[in-house]
């Protein structure tokens, strides 16, 4: 009786300690959804996979700016005026255009605001987009594959002998 209590208590406390340690290890916890439902069922699989459109065709600022950029509604429209104009999702797109509104995409891959992430430096270093963004070409709906945590960044920086000076990313 007493022993069972003791063993039980031991297991509970070890479990608690382990959980606490795990939480501490993971701090700050990331609670963003990894694959949120987007306002438009845009398929990277169709665009980048089946049709083989290069990432930089739409995310055109990545080689020269900190932000990769997402295509303007006008850019989407200019193709879809001719390509599959009858599909329901494309109609939604045109509706956004007609309303003069941007599409409220939901951000999937995000780093905190105190992190400075220049896309162009990574493109310049010939880092494949997939290293951070995953195999986008196979994703029907985009989802985050990398942890995007600091340790994850540091590992990669160490592997590639990139700067690990704090001020590289935290300005």
């Amino acid at each position: 009786m007493k022993r069972s209590w003791f063993v039980g208590g031991l297991i509970v406390s070890i479990g608690t300690i382990a959980t606490l340690l795990a939480v501490m290890y993971l701090l700050p916890l990331d609670l963003t959804e990894r694959s949120p439902v987007q306002p438009l069922a845009f398929s990277h699989k169709v665009h980048a996979g089946d049709n083989g459109i290069h990432c930089l065709y739409c995310h055109r600022y990545a080689p020269k700016s900190t932000v990769a950029g997402i295509p303007a509604v006008a850019d989407c429209r200019s193709c879809h005026l001719f390509i599959a104009p009858d599909k329901p999702e494309v109609k939604k797109l045109i509706a956004y255009w007609d309303k003069g509104e941007g599409i409220p995409w939901i951000r999937v891959n995000n780093v905190p605001d105190h992190v400075y992430f220049p896309h162009m430096m990574h493109i310049r270093a010939r880092i494949d987009c997939g290293i951070c963004h995953g195999k986008v070409a196979t994703m029907e709906r985009i989802s985050r594959t990398a942890s995007l945590k600091m340790g994850w960044c540091l590992d990669c920086h160490r592997q590639h002998k990139a700067s690990i000076d704090c001020w590289t990313c935290h300005l």
Partner: protein
């Protein structure tokens, strides 16, 4: 944190003979670096947020009174007292010889602020607000600091970063004069010269060899990267 070999050692030369004390650098610094707006109450309590201040000293008595101006920002010491005391490496030494400050790492012990002999580290006692639409002026290049963290002059690290990115795209090193911190850029009298002290040919390095050179609180052995040039002969001719 790792000591990498860097071709740069950023430094600044401040010619006190040129400095008129006009305060343009103070506003430039504040504008460039998202430094919080300090209400009267805050400054009265000694919680001024300016990263760069112009010290004004009165010497002598009327009518033989003189004024000395001394712009003081982070001296980016090579043996910086602030660095070893930070328990979390929020204050650290950068490979380019700068004293880094990582805001999101700072826990706010304020130990670095105590140990900085130049009193140039400022602490966010208050949560700073930019009443709309004043927040539009905030620069996207650097973090807006929260309350409870230390901050200080970084020699406009965002400008250094930009120049590094541009020069690396062109496969060259940064040229002399390519980077100017906001204060040096705006100084009407050109009293501030920023440059690579590791390059003996740079303008800053040449000025830093002037016989008028001195470091602030040199006896403490902090080896600052800011070199002052003495104001020449402000006495009767």
């Amino acid at each position: 944190m790792e000591k990498l070999t860097s071709p740069y050692k950023w430094g600044m030369v401040i010619d006190l003979d040129r400095c008129t004390g006009c305060g343009a650098c103070v506003v430039a610094c504040q504008a460039e670096n998202n430094v919080g707006i300090c209400e009267k109450q805050e400054i009265a309590e000694g919680r001024n947020m300016h990263w760069l201040r112009i010290e004004r000293f009165w010497v002598g008595e009327y009518p033989d009174v003189r004024v000395r101006f001394l712009p003081v920002m982070c001296q980016h010491c090579q043996d910086a007292p602030c660095e070893p005391v930070c328990p979390v490496y929020a204050s650290y030494h950068n490979p380019d010889g700068l004293n880094g400050q990582v805001y999101n790492r700072c826990v706010g012990t304020r130990y670095c602020g105590n140990n900085c002999p130049y009193a140039v580290r400022v602490f966010n006692f208050y949560p700073h607000e930019w009443p709309k639409p004043l927040d539009n002026q905030l620069s996207p290049d650097i973090t807006v600091r929260a309350r409870g963290v230390m901050e200080k002059c970084s020699f406009c690290i965002q400008r250094i970063r930009r120049a590094k990115e541009e020069s690396s795209a062109e496969g060259r090193t940064i040229q002399d004069g390519e980077i100017q911190p906001a204060c040096a850029q705006t100084c009407p009298a050109e009293a501030m010269t920023f440059g690579n002290l590791a390059d003996p040919a740079s303008r800053a390095a040449r000025l830093a060899r002037s016989p008028r050179r001195f470091h602030l609180l040199e006896h403490l052995g902090t080896h600052p990267s800011v070199v002052y040039l003495k104001g020449g002969g402000r006495e009767h001719v």
